[in-house]
């Protein structure tokens, strides 16, 4: 295996650094404070292939690999985690299950508009009483002769208020539960009986839209089923398995972004007649963090390479997400500390990184769920 990026991956990194410097970093603070969803930025990201990174060109994707996808998410997150949330939820959680589980008609119908960024995607699994315990779905589907009828509600849905296409899980047979009782459907904005509910006010990633989805006798045609009836839990779990690479990359980016802010601050801030960068105790803390961030990045890249080569990667992506999220949180806490009182004000971006880091330990499988997955590979599943 190689630890060196390919020429294409290096070009993606170069392109992303330039894109982020000019298009993302300048708007991040202001948009975060306003809690505004970056509609124009999403269009630009679509133009440059960010909305369909690791999908084949025949469906309108950019034709890149998962390592490049990890680079895209990391580079965005170094400046603005919320932008990465929008891209990762769209790519990993909506486009991927349609690509991986959809039939040819569904792929032809949905992917070109999604992968080019003309339409935005979302994923509905979590419910008020089904978070980590995703099998406890209460949203139900009635299978009719000519349609499906959904009833229930989803919560904490990323991109909710701005998405056009939703991949939604619903229970078709409670007795079967996760073993064939859940099915996955494509729901479109404007489908009868489907509406967007409450929009959450969050600790961080303010500019990402997080809403409730409400289904009241939501009636959708038969061609919206993803896979077969009863495949839903498999659709959801395989989607999240790859999705973790996105969140782990986001965590690496947040950590690196916070770290870079601290480096700049420490080179300028003087106390006791010396720059902070000249205190060895702080230097050692920075050396620790630099090492941790690099280790997290290598875990992410390994999981991405395995995904590219279609090798089993559930354990790898779980380790990557668990470790990277933990790193993001620890690094953000320390880097804010090194900013002292200024770090606690909204005048310094480190405050935003500190708030944004936390979500990486929670969404797309909490750190505890990642440990369940890792432990399962050691001792076997229950």
């Amino acid at each position: 295996m190689s630890f060196i990026l390919t020429k294409e991956q290096e070009q993606v990194q170069k392109m992303m650094r330039s894109f982020v410097e000019n298009e993302v970093a300048p708007i991040a603070d202001e948009m975060d404070k306003a809690g505004e969803f970056p509609v124009d930025l999403v269009k630009k990201m679509g133009r440059y292939g960010l909305m369909g990174v690791a999908f084949p060109k025949e469906y309108g994707g950019a034709g890149a690999d998962y390592v490049s996808y990890a680079i895209v998410i990391e580079e965005l997150s170094k400046a603005w985690a919320a932008a990465a949330t929008i891209v990762a939820a769209h790519n990993s959680l909506c486009c991927w299950p349609i690509f991986g589980w959809g039939n040819e008609e569904q792929k032809q119908k949905y992917l070109p508009d999604l992968l080019s960024g003309k339409k935005l995607g979302a994923f509905g699994l979590t419910e008020p009483n089904a978070g980590s315990d995703a099998g406890a779905q209460q949203t139900r589907v009635d299978v009719k002769d000519d349609c499906y009828v959904l009833n229930g509600a989803k919560v904490f849905i990323t991109n909710g208020a701005y998405a056009d296409v939703f991949v939604v899980m619903a229970m078709n047979d409670k007795k079967k539960g996760t073993r064939g009782g859940i099915s996955a459907f494509i729901v479109e904005k404007g489908d009868p009986g489907f509406s967007i509910g409450k929009s959450e006010e969050k600790l961080g990633i303010h500019s990402s839209s997080t809403t409730e989805l409400v289904f009241q006798d939501c009636t959708i045609p038969k061609d919206r089923l993803l896979g077969k009836i009863g495949d839903g839990f498999k659709v959801a779990m395989s989607t999240l398995e790859g999705g973790r690479i996105g969140v782990a990359s986001q965590a690496v980016g947040i950590a690196q972004g916070a770290f870079d802010l601290a480096v700049e601050y420490m080179k300028q801030r003087k106390q006791f007649g010396k720059k902070l960068s000249q205190f060895q105790a702080l230097q050692f803390e920075m050396a620790d963090m630099d090492t941790r961030i690099h280790a997290a990045r290598l875990l992410v890249r390994e999981a991405a390479v395995r995904k590219d080569q279609h090798l089993p990667m559930g354990k790898n992506s779980a380790m990557a997400k668990y470790y990277a999220a933990d790193t993001a949180m620890q690094v953000a806490v320390k880097c804010l500390q090194f900013h002292g009182g200024y770090g606690f004000t909204q005048d310094y971006a480190i405050e935003r990184f500190f708030r944004d880091a936390k979500i990486t330990e929670i969404y797309e499988g909490t750190s505890e769920v990642q440990k369940i997955i890792i432990a399962g590979t050691i001792f076997g599943k229950k």
């Binding site: 020429k7 294409e8 070009q11 993606v12 170069k14 392109m15 330039s18 894109f19 133009r47 440059y48 292939g49 960010l50 990174v53 060109k57 994707g61 950019a62 034709g63 890149a64 490049s68 895209v72």
Partner: protein, 263 residues
Amino acid sequence: MKIIVCAKQVPDTNEIRINPETGTLIRDGVPSILNPDDANALELALEIKDKNPGTTVTVVSMGPPQAQEMLEECLAMGADEGILVSDRAVGGSDTWATSNALAAAIRKVGDFDLLLGGRQAIDGDTAQVGPQIAEKLGLPQVTYVTEFELEEGGKSMVVKRALEDGFEEIRIHTPCMLTAIKELNDPRYMSISGIYNKDKDIKVWNAADIEVDLTTVGLKASPTNVFRSFTPKPKGKGVMLEGDTDGELAQHLVDDLKRKHII
């Protein structure tokens, strides 16, 4: 339309430092980039291509083999083809010899409607190669182009040329050469799809391929050569004058100038 863009790989001068002892550039670790004005020329070509399906964009460059990286980036931005003239025989060329080699390469590419280039490269800052190529190919040319509009379905165009104290609006017929300045447009980024384009078409041509007269290219054929390069002495630190009113500020300025026997 068939468009040819001349581009150069240059060291990123924003990142360059100068060895104060020797006065030479420290090139180690300095990234190489597509020359900024050439990126504006390429952007113009790609905008024309976006609006006129069937348009092809060929980027021609001269330089060492690693300049292929820059051509790959041009292709990732949307160009169709890249040609690198690379040969020890053309190494060390000044602007006259460089334009001989590039003109020969462009003749080899064949017919075209529009030849574009940047005003100047940030490493040499001569602004001579573009106009010289146009002369050698017998093409009408407009330099310092800041606005552009196609007419008669691409047979002619109206361009705005930036001068020191104003603008000229010029109608020009194809084939012709234009040199771009940064005010012309905002160059696009590479796209991920462009980076992962499997049909990258980059050709490397040597002096024999472009059928150039070897007595007109390279260091020996160059009528000019760099005698010595040095770093100008750094200027002293500036002084900020302070005062509450304009009159007070002016008085400070006059006092200072008198003290230094300037007035």
